[in-house]
Amino acid sequence: MTRHRGRGMASINYPIGMNLGGDPSQALVHSNPSGKFTVALSSIDLGQGMKSVTRQICAETLGVPVEDVYVDTADSDTGPHCMGSFASRGTHRVGNAVMAAAREARGVMMEAAAEELEVNAADLETDGRGNIHVKGAPHRSISTKDVAIAAQFKQGKTISGRGIFLVPLSNVDPETGEMSPATCYAHACLVAEVEVDDETGEVAMVRMDSAYELGRALNPRLVEQQLVGGAWMGVSHALYETPEPYYPDPAHGPRDFVEYLMPGPGDICPHDIAVLERPAPDGPFGAKGPGEMCANPVLPAVANAIFNAVGVRIDDLPITPEKVLRAIKAQGGARPQARR
């Protein structure tokens, strides 16, 4: 019995969002008389951090403290339309919609403040701490709360804004099949190192090293948690998970978490991540989307690492011990490839 080390790499281009129907999302932003803002969305935060990021985008665009913004994703029946939380589209599509809505709401807020201060709205600026003042004359100031109260009870205005982000639909050329399915691409490269046991066929992760280029990281800690966690979903797809291990008979499929395998805490390995920020021209504050792509490069990298370790090329996922062992037997033993 020998354990063979192998290293494999993979690079990916990942399109942000999709082409279908222009992939639109809407956002509505309004203030209440307390001067706090609500962002209404139908987009869902599954724990990936979309509420935090859209809150930051809204606060930055309005020029108010992040504490003054609340993101409400409570109801997709009554909220503005969203295509959904998938295709790494949340930050890019929904973020752009929130930015547009916040920009419109900011315009109304500045007009209302101008009326109270008896100046031209173009001469006003926000300080990011909840106040609006005349440029170059910070003492001529009014709080966003007082502006909201004046708008509501004196001026009869709603401080609100509407936003939508829609990519022009790209049609397929009937002759060539050519199209532009996305306007924004993220990129990644991942190196996986594995250890393959040639007696049991088991594959253990030894370490991962990756680099992600995903536009501007609007919330670096949330980006990091996506990349760290998502890599293990990739490992899980590469080595463990399948609903139909003995396709095509679903009767032999796993029925619970005891049979539907996923990595446990004992299976993890060190993962060093570099984040490269090249702002996207059409992203909110330059952001792309670090969603699904964090799982994708892991699968080919692991498959390549297994080939490097024992010389077997498995092209059917997941790469279970049984498949590895059968392939090693079929080629008459492990054939470690040159280390790169």
Binding site: L46, G47, Q48, G49, R221, L222, E224, Q225, V228, G229, G230, A231, W232, M233, D256, F257, V258, M262, P263, G264, P265, G266, I268, H271
Partner: protein, 158 residues
């Protein structure tokens, strides 16, 4: 089926309920006591998110008959925070981004508390071992392990 009277301590408070024979502790806690912090994941001991402490020992409440806790002390995540203050483990989970969707978090926190209550300075391997009965889909476990080690080392924000 006749109801069985059942008394036990729930997060330091005496509770008395009537359960059907065969009711598991998870159902008793959630549906009869109203403590929704232990989660229903798989209902057969495969995921760990229903974990609670019984007399300080970690148990899967979905596989525990409710009547077996008569006269004993049951701790759940609901009893973890101290008044308005988060428990250091909860604070460390937040600091270390150890939750995303949050469904595994109650079980992870109870498994971590069971460990630190008996071993305040665990090694990394001991932390991994302690949460090995708990499945997490989002985090890749690394932030959870780091959070537990940070709580053990007193490295938590105020």
């Amino acid at each position: 089926m006749s109801k069985i009277p059942l008394q036990f301590r729930h997060n330091g408070r005496d509770v008395a309920i009537f359960v059907d024979g065969g009711t598991n502790l998870l159902v008793a806690l959630r549906e009869l006591i109203g403590d929704m912090t232990p989660k229903f994941g798989c209902g057969q001991g495969g995921c760990g998110t229903c974990s609670v402490l019984i007399d300080g020992e970690l148990h899967l409440s979905c596989l525990t008959l409710a009547e077996t806790v008569a006269g004993r002390s049951v701790e759940t995540l609901d009893g973890m925070k101290q008044g308005p203050n988060l428990h250091p483990l909860q604070r460390a989970f937040a600091d270390n981004f150890a939750a995303q969707c949050g469904y595994c978090t109650p079980g992870m926190l109870m498994a971590a508390k069971a460990l630190l209550d008996r071993n305040p300075s665990p090694s990394r391997d001991e932390v991994v071992e302690a949460i090995s009965g708990n499945i997490c889909r989002c985090t890749g476990y690394e932030p959870i392990v780091n959070a537990i080690l940070a709580a053990a080392g007193g490295r938590v924000s105020a």
